[in-house]
Each structure stands twice: as C-alpha cells, then as structure tokens.
C-alpha cells in the first residue's frame, strides 16, 4: 500500500471536536426566539390562579381595547381547538379526559390557559393579560395521590381520579414470598421534578395562504407535524414544522403543547404571524413535570442473599390531564425494576392517578430512573438486613457475563453486558476497599462527619424502540428512524436525519459515521435535521434513541450508497460489480487491472452520467429506515462517597466514579459529556430539586430561586471511564448514552447518604436530601434510641 492510499485514522472512537460549536460559541445560533417576520405579533396567555375551579365568565373586551392589542380570545372563541393528544392509552379502560388547549369550563391546575391576547410586542401583550377579567368558582384541589382514590376525595374529572391500573408479572410471586427467609418492604417517594431545559419554550407560527410554518423549540418536529394533521385537521402536506437550534429538552420538549396548537390557530385567525416565548415562571407552571411516584417495593430473598421475588406497587401522578406519553412513562419502569438481577418471580402494578397539578410526562430517563432508584435502594436495604456487603449482594444476583443473551423475569432479552468488568473497574478507580476501611475507622471514632459509600449497578432499556413492542404496549406510533445520504457532484455529502438534535451533537457524530463508512473527509459532510421540509421523515430524539436507531439507519443508507457506487464503478473499472471492492473511499477491482476510483470520482461521473452502465440511474442518493428488533441495554457501575455532617445535615460528595458500558462509542468526548450532564441531573434529584405545591395547589417553585438547579459550585468533578461490550442487536454495536448518568446516579448518592448514617438508626431520607431533612432524620433516629 502506498502512502496515498494508507487507511485514514478511524472515525469511530475518535473524540472529534463538535461541528455545532462554531455557531454556538459565537452567538450565531438560530433559536426560535430570534425569529422575526414582517407583521409579527406576540401572544401572551391568561392563566388560572386556581388549582381547580369552574370558569364562570371570561371577559376579554377591556384587553382588546388596549393600545397595541390586536386581538384577545378565550377558549370558546376556538371551537376548533379540539383536544391535546395522548398517544399512549395503556389499558383498554383508561380514562382519557378531554384536554382543550384553552380551558372553557373548568381549570384543573394553576397555570392552565384560559385566554390569549395578541399584541404588537411582549410588553403590550403582558399589559393586556392584566386587563382580561376571568371569574372563577373555586373547587377543592386534589393533591395527594395516596388519598385521591378515597370515596370522599374531590374529583379532578367527572370520571374520577383513577386514570388506569396496569398489571404485569412473571413467575409464581406467591410461592416466591411464601416461607421466604427474608422479606423486606420499603416505600419510596419519587419527588416531582421540573425538567428545566435552559432555553424556554418558544413558538412562531406563520400562514401563507393555506400553508402554515411552525417554528418551535421542540424535540419532535416530525411527531408534531403528524399530530397537527391528525388531531387538528390541518392537511399534513400544508404543514411545515421547523425545530431550529433547540436549547436542551430532556423530555420536556417531547410534547404537543397547547401553546403550539394555539399559535397555529391564532395566527390563522389574526392573519399575521404570531410568536410566543415563555418566561421561566410560566414554564415552571406549564411545561410538563417529571417523576412523581409513590413506590411500595417488597422483596423476598434467601439467607444467602439470592433474590426469590420482587413485588412493585406504584402510584403514578398523571397530573390534571394526559399529555403525549404521560401514562406510558411509569410503565417503562415496569421492565426495569428487576434491573440486572435474576429472580424467580416478579409482579408489577401501577395505578395512574389524576391530581390538580401540572401533567407529568417524560423527563430524562422516563420511568427508568424511578425503577432504578427503587431497586438499588432496596438492594442496599436488603444487604443491611442480611449483614452483607451491598456489592457482594449484587454480585450474587446479577446476570453473569457468560449468561448473555439473557431473558429477564420481565421478559426483555438483554443481548450483552459485562457487569463484572464495569464493577471491577469502578471498584479500582474508587478505591472501594480503602474507603470501607476509612468508614470503619470513622464510625468507631464517632466522627461527627461520617463517610458513606453508595452503589448503583444499573442497566436501562433504550434505543426506543421496536415498533412491534410499542404496538404491544398500546403506543400510538412506531419506533423506527430514517436517514438519507446525498452524494453531491463534487464528492461532498449531505446527510438528512430524522433525529432532531437539541444539543447532543448529532452533526458531529453523524458525520463520523458517514466518514467511516464512505471514506470521505469529516469536513466534507453536512448534516441536515429538524425541518420537516428538509428531513421529511423521522421519529425524532428522545429515549437515548438517536444513535441506536437513527445512527443505524444512517449506516444502512451508507451501505446503499456503496452498493450503487459499486455498480457504477464496475463500468469505470471494467470489472463485474461482484469483483469491486471498497475501502476507505476507494473502489478497486479485485485482482484486476490495479485501476481504482475514489467515491468522489464516482460521484462526479454519476452526476455527468455520460458512461453509466445500461439501466443504471444517475444517482447515488440513498435512504434507509431502521426499526430495531430489540432495545439496547447500556449498563454500568456507579460509586459515590459522601461525607455527611451529622451535626448540620450537610452532605458533600467526596468522590464519584461512573464506569459506563454504552457499547461502541462513536465519539468518546460526546459520550463523556452526556454522562457528566446525566450525573448532574441525577445528583440534583438526590440533593436539590423538588417541585413543591402548597395545600391550595399553588406551585411554590416557580422560579430558579425556588427550584434549585445546582450550579458549578454545588457539584463535584466526576471520574468517568468506560468498558466496551458491543451491542449485538445492531450493526454499529452501539447502545445509547443520553440517560445513563441520570438513571444511575440518584440511588448512588442516596445510598451513600444512608450508608453514612444507617448505623445511627436512619433507614430512609426522602429526596431531595437537604441538610434539614438529613439532620432531622439523624435527630429522630437518635431520639428513638439509635441503632437497632
């Protein structure tokens, strides 16, 4: 091989700096709120101050008369507003109440829209909101899931407060618990969280004749376009949805919102383009929240720690209405409570409950963090009950490397994994045994600052999702993804993806996939996404699916390009197609003349089309759609050491080690960034964040002063590493990484806190584990006589 044809450095596994950054670091980003159009006017919403009330009148006339105001409407002005869609009716008898974008008869959470004003600018619109007169007849709120099903409870909807009950199980659960030597029950609270993407939601809608363009800070432009067509009777071919640069989502922008629908309807009504950008307070009141479960977990085990059975009973807060995938979120956890462990029997029950609070829906991890928290906390409690090292208990129960593929008690087939390797690496990086020894010393000396070690050996199901599985779970759409590759005449490449990035770095990673496959320079590739006119087909970005589904689709599109190019190359190289070989961007005839042709030369020859073989189309462009056969199952071992001041309740993270196995890493730099960010959000749930309602159903955490997103000063540096066990279910061997850190870290931190104070008699501390809560738990344990 000559120097000219030497293999270029592999693109897979290379920490390429991101293409996206050039515009993001220079202030040239195209956010939805940047958009201005001729004649643009601004919407502002009048929102309910009551958690639950009957609307007796809405008078917008004074607002309409104000200077700068173009129009003002209440819900009754939009009989065509319909109902916001829920795509996941999880049971045949699920209660799915109507959910008008603007309430007309009753409001069911503080912040629900009841009227909209349209004005020349945000300021005039805000003034006009104050002039809208709404009269309410207050009704009693419903705020506690645990009493919401009582006969005496007020009703959120006429059908009652129970949305659904979903049961699932495998094995003989009664036998597993009968005569079990050890049975443990724990009740955990998954507090309500606010996803808090840094970019607030923003929408612009503009009609030209009968065609509408909707710009939205959304994760799901394709699903949104479908929803507007399917549920709001706008012809699909006349809708273009654009997600420009989007500033984070974490599930919160995986939604079809009232504001998006109303922007489209209002723009049509006033005959001018309209814009709406939420304030943070408005967002906290109205963007769907996440988590919010009560978990009752029972586990049965033998004396040696072997798990016999696991029984999970959840109450899941739907909030006031069902949004796009609200009821499905807790059910994603149904398959994950058993986690990496073997057991004889499993039962799961989830009751979805309506309350007069903001609807819940997907938030980073969506069902899987809740499940992982439940099982990992329970494993630590069981280890304590058995007097066993919590890592040893896990080791005795997890699926061994040689047992893969392994079908779990929840019915999923984990294709690959190596829990031993990830754990060994984490234990080594963490200095597990030294920290245990230090912990012993500090316990013995009665150090007021106690050391705790928290373990989380987690897995998750991601790469959502095989369409057939989604169908069997009653989800309303598929889980495939689409990609196209366009070979330009000069040998450059345009990639069109249905994955809609909002900060992940698809433009970089997708370029690496194409560079690796086609042998074209990384710099010669441009990735197009987030515009239904440019990328007409897609299922968008959520559930750690972009690489494991969209990336694999792109891999398939590249294969098709190569196959087409081989046919054209065979003409140029004067050899039959089956003798054409392709490597590193160069086509050659096997054992033949020694003639070669680069993919760029073939692109130009295809464009010229002068000498193509008979019957061959002058195009290399290819499209592929990929529907996975299975989920992917990233896993890892996270270890957290906390120092807990028993006199003040202050918790500080002394070290945090995350060893993740996400299969093959296309770009390790991006993988590490995803892990870091995931850890921060999971730690935030453990220590800082909670959406709090008062007894009247007012959200108290409406600003970032009240809802505590941690800053750089609140978080540690992490030690991260990877083991690499390729997925066997897709040709790239990739597993997904977007949610791993969030799923793993919350129980690692809380387990560490409990491990620091369990010997004092503390059995649980509700999240977030604030200094006050930790201090109270320690005090209560001391007052009740301390350790058992």
């Amino acid at each position: 091989m000559t120097a000219e044809t030497a293999a270029p450095a592999a693109e897979f596994g290379r920490s390429r700096l991101r293409k996206e950054d050039a515009r993001l670091i220079t202030g040239q980003t195209n956010w939805t709120d940047n958009i201005t159009l001729p004649g643009l006017v601004h919407m502002a919403f009048v929102r309910s101050p009551f958690a639950h009330a009957r609307i007796t009148s809405v008078d917008v006339s004074a607002a309409r008369a104000m200077p700068g105001v173009i129009a003002a409407f209440s819900g009754v002005d939009f009989p065509e507003q319909g109902s916001l869609p829920c795509a996941w009716p999880v049971t045949p008898d699920i209660v799915m109440p109507p959910h008008p974008p603007m309430a007309t008869e009753e409001v069911r959470y503080v912040g629900e829209a009841v009227a909209v004003v349209v004005a020349r600018d945000r300021y005039a619109a805000a003034d006009a909101v104050e002039a809208v007169q709404v009269e309410y007849e207050p009704l009693p709120p419903v705020l506690d899931m645990r009493t919401a099903l009582d006969e005496s409870s007020p009703k959120v909807h006429p059908q009652g407060n129970k949305c659904f009950e979903w049961v699932f199980g495998n094995g003989d659960i009664d036998a597993a618990f009968r005569d079990a030597p050890v049975v443990l029950e724990r009740n955990y609270r998954q507090q309500r969280l606010i996803p808090s993407a840094m970019e607030p939601r923003a929408v612009v809608a503009a009609w030209v004749a009968d065609e509408v363009t909707l710009w939205s800070a959304t994760q799901i432009p394709h699903v949104l376009r479908f929803a507007l067509a399917a549920f709001f009777a706008i012809p699909e071919q006349n809708i273009r949805v654009i997600a420009p640069d989007v500033g984070g989502g974490f599930g919160s922008k995986l939604q079809v919102t009232a504001e998006e629908v109303l922007a489209v309807l209002v723009a049509k009504r006033v005959g001018r383009p309209v814009k709406w950008t939420e304030s943070r307070s408005e967002g906290n009141l109205t963007v769907h929240h996440g988590r919010d479960q009560w978990q009752r977990i029972r586990v049965a085990a033998d004396h040696d720690g072997r798990l016999r059975g696991l029984s999970v009973d959840l109450l899941a807060n739907m909030g006031a209405y069902l949004m796009l995938v609200t009821p499905g979120v807790p059910l994603l956890g149904a398959f994950m409570f058993n986690s990496i462990y073997k057991m004889d029997a499993y039962s799961f029950r989830c009751t979805g409950i309506f309350t007069t609070e903001v609807p819940t829906d997907a938030y980073r991890g969506a069902g899987r963090p809740e499940a992982t928290f439940g099982i990992e906390r329970t494993m630590d409690e069981l280890a304590s009950e058995l007097g066993m090292d919590p890592m040893e208990l896990r080791r005795r129960n997890w699926i061994k490397h040689e047992e893969f593929p392994f079908t779990t008690i929840a019915g999923l087939t984990y294709d690959s994994g190596n829990y031993e390797a990830a754990t060994a690496r984490a234990v080594e990086l963490f200095g597990y045994h030294d920290l245990r020894a230090e912990q012993e010393r500090r316990r013995a000396s009665g150090d007021p600052v106690q050391l705790g070690i928290g373990i989380s050996t987690f897995t998750e199901m991601c790469g959502l999702a095989p369409s057939r599985v989604l169908g069997s779970l009653s989800y309303g759409a598929g889980g495939w993804e689409s990609a196209s590759v366009r070979m330009l005449p000069t040998g450059k490449v345009e990639v069109v993806t249905g994955s809609s990035a909002h900060g992940q770095g698809h433009e970089t990673a997708w370029s690496q996939i194409v560079a690796e496959k086609l042998g074209v320079p990384f710099e010669d590739i441009r990735v197009l996404h987030g515009d239904t006119q440019v990328s007409p087909k897609g299922m968008d970005t959520y559930g750690s699916r972009s690489l494991t589904v969209g990336g694999v689709a792109l891999n398939g599109a590249c294969d098709k390009v190569i196959a087409k190019a081989k046919v054209i190359a065979s003409g140029m190289l004067e050899a039959p197609p089956e003798e054409i070989e392709f490597a590193h961007g160069v086509f050659s005839a096997r054992g033949g003349s020694g003639k070669t042709s680069t993919i760029q030369e073939i692109a130009l020859a295809t464009f010229a089309a002068h000498n193509l073989p008979d019957g061959v189309e002058p195009s290399l462009d290819s499209e592929a759609t990929y529907d996975p056969d299975n989920f992917s199952f990233p896993h890892g071992t996270h270890l957290c050491a906390t120092e807990v001041d028993t006199e003040t309740g202050e918790v500080s993270i002394r070290s945090y080690v995350a060893v993740d196995d996400v299969g093959r890493a296309v770009n390790p730099l991006i993988v590490e960034g995803q892990v870091h960010g995931g850890l921060a959000q999971g730690i935030a749930q453990a220590l800082f964040e909670e959406a709090v309602y008062d007894d009247d159903g007012n959200l108290l955490t409406t600003t970032l002063a009240d809802y505590l997103i941690p800053s750089a000063a609140d978080l540690p540096s992490y030690i991260t590493d990877r083991t690499e066990t390729p997925a066997t279910t897709n040709p790239l061997g990739v597993k997904g990484v977007g949610e791993a850190g969030t799923i793993a870290s919350t129980p690692a931190v809380v387990n560490a806190i409990l491990d620091a104070v369990r010997h004092l008699g503390v059995r649980d501390i509700p999240m977030p584990c604030t200094p006050e809560r930790v201090w109270r738990a320690v005090q209560a344990a001391r007052e009740s006589g301390g350790a058992r």
Binding site: G27, P67, G68, Y123, M198, R280, H676, G677, T703, S717
Partner: protein, 176 residues
C-alpha cells in the same frame, strides 16, 4: 433609524414614553430611543439585533443573559436599558476578533464545554470577568465565579476545564 409602533389604537404620539440613551456595545457607539421599562436584554436582542445574548429565566438566576457592563458581569434580564446610558457593554459577539476566536471560545470548543449552547455566551462572559481579575484561577475559583450561571447539559466539569484552558492560553499569550 426609525421605530414604528404598530396598532397604537387611539394613542397619541406623546403617549408612548421614550428616553434617548447613548451606549457603547462591542466597541461601537449607539444611540437608541427606548421605553423606560425596556430590559437591557431586549435592547440587545431586539433593538441592536445581537441575538447571542439569551434569556433563560427573567429573575437573575440562570445567567444566560450575562453581559459585561463596564467590564463587570451583569444579568441583562434585570437591568433596564436606560440604566445602560453612558456605559460600555460587551456581548458574546464582541469576544472574537475578525480573524480569531477569543481563548474562551476556543477553550469551550476544545474541552467540550457546551452541549445545547444556550448558557454558553453567559458562561463565557462570566468567565471573562473572572480571568480579567484572576488570570490563574483554581478549579474552586472557577466554580464559584460561575455559580450564578446555570447549565443543564454539561454537569459543569467540562465548563471548568474550558475556563482553565482559556486561562492557560491567555497567560501564555501575555507571557509571550
């Protein structure tokens, strides 16, 4: 330059309160007529048309709107435009020269200090204010200096590394 107020209804010209202010932004002198209640962030984004300054919270918590006013980091969502009269503002668009990026911009790229990028301009300006007074900060210094700027994507570790990368480059430039 002109500002047209649409849809004024029966408002008279004098009913729209206006103040004329002069300020410097990224080295360029500007004069603007503004409503007294106009936020500085809106003046920058809509009036001047520099959309690299972002608004993430309106309550001075998130720091996405951080700009430098006379060299000090200020959250422009809670400063009025009229308060900028006579002052000098630096936004993210003022960091790079025509030919090269500022070391902070290079550092954020090199160390993967951003994902969605919404917090990034504010982060870089807060970091610039730190490095202007402390050219050789510790990790702890950086974490505290950025504690008024929130990021939801990165977990901050790479942001801290980015700022330290920039500090090292700036020191080597001034030494050279």
């Amino acid at each position: 330059m002109t500002t047209v107020y649409d849809d004024v209804g029966d408002q008279a010209a004098g009913d729209v309160p206006m103040r004329r202010i002069a300020f410097t932004i990224n080295g360029a002198r500007k004069i603007a007529e503004v409503e007294p209640r106009l936020l500085l962030a809106h003046l920058i984004r809509r009036g001047v048309g520099l959309t690299g300054t972002h608004m993430g919270c309106d309550t001075t918590n998130c720091g996405a709107c951080t700009v430098l006013v006379d060299g000090k980091p200020i959250k422009s969502c809670t400063m009025l435009a009229v308060q900028a009269d006579g002052h000098e503002i630096t936004t993210v668009e003022g960091l790079a020269s025509a030919s090269e990026l500022h070391p902070l911009q290079e550092g954020f790229r090199a160390e993967h200090g951003l994902q969605c990028g919404f917090c990034t301009p504010g982060m870089m300006l807060a970091a610039k204010a730190l490095l202007d007074v402390n050219p050789d900060p510790t990790e702890e210094d950086v974490r505290w200096a950025l504690s008024g700027n929130l990021c939801r994507c990165t977990g901050y570790q790479n942001i801290v590394k980015s700022v330290l990368w920039a500090a090292a480059k700036l020191r080597s430039q001034s030494a050279g």
